[in-house]
């Protein structure tokens, strides 16, 4: 391939590639630079080079550790429950029945509701201890009222998140179900396989790519969750429900501790890259197998 031909092929890619590098990678390099400085906007004598001191401090910081744990619990919990519910809804929708379109429309709506609106809806209208709909519903079966966001902050956040992300996994799994060749299912039926057996041995393996894609994309978005935490619990009570994005935001924009927040950002990015590399290799393998 000639040089000119190579550039002709590469050319269309360059604007997007350069734009992405400039907007996403340059600020990150600056973050690394900030992370090596002792820079707190509240201290006038600040902003000196301190080497790795910020990183050492992070590992002494118990709130950082608990926020990291919350990030993991919230992300895995949300993706897991949203996937289970998504599979159930998708299986129920993948049949012909009266009002199928209406039911599908109802089920995808939470994904379309603005997350800020969804978060306030859950924290106030649904989970409020005195007039929330959830406490009214559980009072019908005799359960006493619960102050959800104060005493169960993580569960409250998970409720709002699972509600918002289930339609996403449902649509993905539904796409997988609809691309299933019908003759295989019929063959299984003729062989007298039960519904459970057909599901486990025929349907689930065919859904694998879709489930993997859902887990990957869901994780990418959910791990960055900020809106629900900011609006439902503000990370509280105390720092009980802060995840890493929220804690870093607090350090940067409320504590004005630029150096510390930057170092946390760098640690999160490194951890994310390690996890993502494994996840992406998995996805690429299953995509390549098909292409």
């Amino acid at each position: 391939m000639s040089k000119a031909e190579g550039w002709r092929r590469r050319g269309p890619l360059l604007p997007a590639l350069i734009f992405t590098i400039v907007i996403t990678q340059l600020p990150f390099l600056v973050t690394i630079w900030y992370s090596l400085r002792n820079w707190n906007l509240l201290r006038p004598d600040g902003n000196q080079f301190t080497g790795l001191q910020n990183y050492v401090d992070i590992f002494m910081d118990s709130t950082f550790r608990s926020s990291a744990l919350n990030s993991i619990v919230i992300t895995l919990g949300c993706v897991f429950f949203a996937m289970i519910l998504g599979i159930i809804f998708a299986l129920l929708l993948d049949r012909k029945f009266r009002g199928q379109g209406v039911v599908r429309t109802m089920l995808i709506t939470p994904f379309l509701i603005m997350p800020v609106a969804g978060a306030t809806l859950w924290s106030i209208s649904m989970l409020n201890p005195s007039f929330g709909l959830v406490n009214w519903a559980i009072s019908l079966v005799g359960i006493p009222p619960v102050d959800w966001t104060a005493s169960h902050p993580i569960i409250s956040i998970l409720m709002a998140l699972v509600w918002q992300w289930t339609p996403f996994t449902m649509l993905l799994v539904l796409a997988g179900l609809q691309s299933q060749p019908k003759d295989v299912l019929e063959a299984a039926q003729i062989d007298g396989a039960s519904w459970t057996k057909t599901f486990v041995w025929v349907t689930l393996p065919q859904l694998r790519r879709y489930i993997e894609l859902g887990v990957l994309l869901g994780t990418i978005y959910v791990v960055n969750t900020f809106d629900q935490i900011y609006l439902m619990t503000a990370g509280g009570p105390g720092t009980a429900s802060a995840n890493l994005p929220f804690y870093i935001y607090q350090r940067a924009f409320l504590g004005f501790d630029i150096g510390q927040a930057a170092a946390m950002g760098v640690v999160v990015v490194i951890a994310t890259i390690i996890i993502a590399t494994f996840a992406l290799r998995l996805i690429f393998r299953s995509f390549d197998a098909k292409d």
């Binding site: 002709r8 092929r9 600056v30 809806l121 649509l171 791990v223 960055n224 935001y249 930057a262």
Partner: protein, 262 residues
């Protein structure tokens, strides 16, 4: 089974019904214990929200969402073309790079962006949001468009190349018409994420460039809690994307599964 499906769907959809009901209530009925299910609907809250300067926020959101989506499409289509139909070397590395930027937590870049934008005097500027939303959606758009392009038969492109058609002509007359549903799906996903984005808007805008999510939050914190008014604002804020998503359900499914559906 059908009854179970309807019942589950109703329970899952109930918060939305409740949100819409609350928006039509007088304030006294909105926060009452036990909840009020029967009331005389009123448009009072919607009028209050609209007379509260919501228009400027909607205009900002419209510009940020619209312009960033157009930019994403303009950048993503040629890029996806380059990595699918005429593969450059190390295609999968390029794709890996794009998706890996989505894994970069936004909090890790917000401070430099804040400081740089401050020095360039583009804080509280809608153009800043346009650029950031473009960068936010571009990786997913490249991935999606790539999978749609891969469904185009190779013979069609060979024929175009034989006829001596260049990149722009091939894209405009052959490829784009063939992947229009995919393009619509990609644009829809970008619109959803840009319209709903809150973190950048919260931290980088103040008086002039604030978008709808920021307006919603200001409704909650400014003068105490007015639940019915907040619900009306939530309904108005969510409505454009909800309607777009309802109308384009098929495209949404294709988009989310990255065109994997045949």
């Amino acid at each position: 089974m059908t009854t179970v499906t309807w019942l589950l769907a109703f329970v899952f959809f109930a918060p939305v019904i409740w949100l819409v009901m609350t928006a039509f209530k007088p304030e006294s009925a909105a926060a009452s214990n036990p909840p009020v299910f029967f009331f005389v609907p009123t448009f009072e809250q919607f009028e209050a929200v609209l007379s509260n300067g919501a228009g400027a926020y909607f205009l900002n959101s419209l510009i940020a969402t619209g312009v960033s989506t157009i930019l994403v499409v303009l950048l993503a289509v040629p890029a996806a073309y380059a990595v699918s139909i005429r593969p450059v070397k190390k295609t999968s590395d390029v794709l890996f790079f794009f998706i890996s930027t989505k894994m970069l937590p936004v909090v890790a870049v917000i401070m430099p962006i804040y400081v740089i934008a401050g020095q360039l005097k583009v804080l509280d500027n809608i153009g800043t949001l346009v650029i950031l939303y473009t960068a936010m959606n571009l990786p997913i758009a490249v991935w999606m468009m790539r999978s749609f392009f891969q469904e185009v038969p190779a013979e069609v492109l060979e024929a175009a190349s034989m006829d001596g058609a260049g990149l722009i002509k091939t894209l405009r007359t052959i490829l784009i018409p063939m992947v229009t549903p995919g393009l619509a799906a990609t644009a829809l996903i970008c619109v959803i994420f840009a319209w709903n984005e809150f973190f950048f808007a919260l931290n980088l805008t103040a008086a002039n460039a604030s978008t709808v999510p920021v307006f919603l939050v200001s409704q909650m914190t400014s003068e105490g809690l007015f639940l019915a008014k907040l619900s009306a604002a939530s309904v108005l804020a969510s409505l454009p994307v909800v309607i777009a998503g309802w109308v384009a359900q098929k495209q949404l499914v294709r988009g989310l599964s990255m065109g994997a559906v045949k």
